[in-house]
Symmetry: C4
Subunit: 274 residues, 4 copies
Amino acid sequence: MTKLTLTPRQRLYQIIFGTSTRFGQWFDIALIIAIISSEIILIISSVASIESQYPHLLVIAEWSFTILFTIEYILRLYCSPRPLAYMRSFYGVIDLMAILPAYIAFLIPGSNYLLIIRLIRVLRIFRVLKLARFLKDSNILLRSLRHAQRKIVVFFSSVLILVTVFGSLMFIIEGPANGFTSIPKSIYWAIVTITTVGYGDIVPHTVMGKALASLTMLLGYSILAVPTGIITAELNQEMKTHRGLIRCPNCATSGHEMDAEYCKKCGTQLPETL
Amino acid sequence: MTKLTLTPRQRLYQIIFGTSTRFGQWFDIALIIAIISSEIILIISSVASIESQYPHLLVIAEWSFTILFTIEYILRLYCSPRPLAYMRSFYGVIDLMAILPAYIAFLIPGSNYLLIIRLIRVLRIFRVLKLARFLKDSNILLRSLRHAQRKIVVFFSSVLILVTVFGSLMFIIEGPANGFTSIPKSIYWAIVTITTVGYGDIVPHTVMGKALASLTMLLGYSILAVPTGIITAELNQEMKTHRGLIRCPNCATSGHEMDAEYCKKCGTQLPETL
Amino acid sequence: MTKLTLTPRQRLYQIIFGTSTRFGQWFDIALIIAIISSEIILIISSVASIESQYPHLLVIAEWSFTILFTIEYILRLYCSPRPLAYMRSFYGVIDLMAILPAYIAFLIPGSNYLLIIRLIRVLRIFRVLKLARFLKDSNILLRSLRHAQRKIVVFFSSVLILVTVFGSLMFIIEGPANGFTSIPKSIYWAIVTITTVGYGDIVPHTVMGKALASLTMLLGYSILAVPTGIITAELNQEMKTHRGLIRCPNCATSGHEMDAEYCKKCGTQLPETL
Amino acid sequence: MTKLTLTPRQRLYQIIFGTSTRFGQWFDIALIIAIISSEIILIISSVASIESQYPHLLVIAEWSFTILFTIEYILRLYCSPRPLAYMRSFYGVIDLMAILPAYIAFLIPGSNYLLIIRLIRVLRIFRVLKLARFLKDSNILLRSLRHAQRKIVVFFSSVLILVTVFGSLMFIIEGPANGFTSIPKSIYWAIVTITTVGYGDIVPHTVMGKALASLTMLLGYSILAVPTGIITAELNQEMKTHRGLIRCPNCATSGHEMDAEYCKKCGTQLPETL
């Protein structure tokens, strides 16, 4: 009954923005499939050999998706009760960024520039970030990270200072003759080393340089333990709290054990999440 | 007495499928030794210099094991009370996959094709996975991983999105001139970097590229902490629960401390596992 | 009223050394901006192409900062109630080291030497370490590390012994022909491998060498878990204790849960830190 | 008084084997200094350029230490109440292995062989392992590792199976043309990749190979979390238990908090270790 009182615009809003109705869920699933498909086509079209084989097919497929997403964006603006607020929101900006590069490439002539701009279109990938809407289970992870925020900032500041100091020392020791041509490049080496990535494109050649590199590695090795410790400790606590806060739907008892599946008072099955 | 009432087929079932009788245990141990031996021969025969020295010996050894495993497979089908259910089970399929490649290579003539098919035979390695049957202590690990399942999915989705975004950005910045010939290849680079493997086969050359690579590394560095945190927190909880669930064999008291070796009520030694 | 009784020297002390007054805070913020700016100029001037373009500009900028920091150092000595104690303190030494290399380069003539000494000036980066004064939240991290101190020493001694043993074994197995020209170089390889950095500049070529390298890697892999375990366990405990020590500002109740935001007795909001 | 009743042999035993007397402690410290000095000389003499400069000096230094350690070994045999038990003990064998290679090189003539045997002398490094005697604080770490033993075995078996499977698959996909010349070499690649070392000496070249390598890396990435989780959980528990077991030296109260420094009952300072 209440359903019939909705205007077509309100219904459209329910389908496009909401996930409570069946059509709203279908729309979102279809959207995600469309986003991933357009991404796959974009990735495939970046492979030179494939693009030269099916040039028209890929262009048509890309434009179909661009037009589809444009219609979707217009409909969002139309049915939203506050279109300006939507446009300025995080998802509004991403929705626009997912279609704009295609039109910029279309409007401005000049084949060479078009090629470069087409590559910028890969930023449409940010559209995929919409997926985050579906990941409700990521809450525990995010809350742990938010709690650990300040400790992570302290940690990263220390890492940046260390990397600058070690990079500069390496620049003095090894010098441009051994590939350490400037301090920024030496800092790049220090980051590659301290994160244990170790490309091997810049490598110490002198004995002193190797000794300093060894120190950097052993330091990076032990430093790696700090963020892990921070996040584990937070996550540990978050998981305990999270479970403890769940109330039994029958008798409202809270403070259950982390692995509890049934209420300890009345045996009713507990809900998975808050 | 009850033992004598078993038919030969039932006895065979007890030996081949069971591990409760002495012969059943011996059979399984012999089987594992045979599997590992056949794997070692397969691995050795892949070394070109050794194969050219003892070509006949290795072929004979391989075929002996293939025939042995074939007989074993037929016996399993014969003695199983429900042969079709066995064939369709996980181990049934693996048991068949462990012998089939050898016969496919035998039936179809043509030396070149045979060579390729012989390599597919290395899939027989999956046979070794049977070892898992003996690892009862892996339960705690597996249960922790199962509990952390959803968090790990959330985490891996985030990693995949990040890797696609960073790979595409790198493709725009560095381009085919610096080895980033396509987006899939750039995503491969991003995975190599974010997992801190760092082969060094594809490496940024421009200043902007190096800056983005540094960001990717530092991100990968801190991201590495998340799965560790998840698994540690789950394992921590799992170990507490696991020990707490053990009941004293004498007075049936449960809820012991994780490191308890004796019952806190009556002093009876507690069993190691549930 | 009390404010007017301060001599100009005492006021200067309050501004330069203190952070309690508004001017004191502004001075410290301005100082940090100046330090980071001078560091950026130093890093930029190490890039050969940029330096050749703006040689005078960079020299002038560097000297401006050097003179600024010299005036600051003199003012610190002037207004400090105990100038000698300041000079001998950790920050006093760093403050002097941040200006001295510039003057040493100035006093001694000879262009070649000047170039080398200019590089030593990058040690001025240590000046940035003053940032640590602002990071009060780093206390939990530092206390955890201090508690874990002895375990970390034990761990690092084991790593050093392992690295020496594996490096020496690799020197015997691979030898100078395969790039392992001396034991120190082989130890360098072992550190590169056990920390999972893996530059790939020195790599085993023989079968035996590869087997030993595989063992080293798997060992390094599992060893990596030990410092993480140590720091996580300490941090876990430290965070529990830290929160438990906070007293309610209203009723002075302590022993709150780690995630408590309000006093469990009177509901007053708890302070963030001790 | 009791001291005077000791025979010279018993006194020697107290000095060489014991650490309770002042001379016993001095002897052990001197021994460690001698071991490290002989190791440094050995490491230095492996550097070709240094050895050619001071050939006699290094030979003399090496022989001095060898003779010193030989005298020490003879004295140990002489003063030990049960010389045969000492000889067969772990330290007895290491003590012999630390001097034997030098004499073997001396007795058998032939310069080429001598060179090889001299290298085997680096095994004398194991002598340094005696240091472990001084590291009593390593007990917590060792006990944690012993408790986690079975889980680590399960984990390493899984890693070995994974590495064999992925190595073989890579051998089929990439083949000898792309550097994966045999299954053992491919397994070596899989270990280099899964441990995130990533030398880059063997690297996938085909698209399929890169896809499989990406999978291997992401797997290795998440697998890395498991041993950390195991050791952290054990260490966490071990530290709690360890502290809880300490008894107050005044009132014998146990069950103190992990970070307790004073007895919660009577305020007496608690001992550091059990």
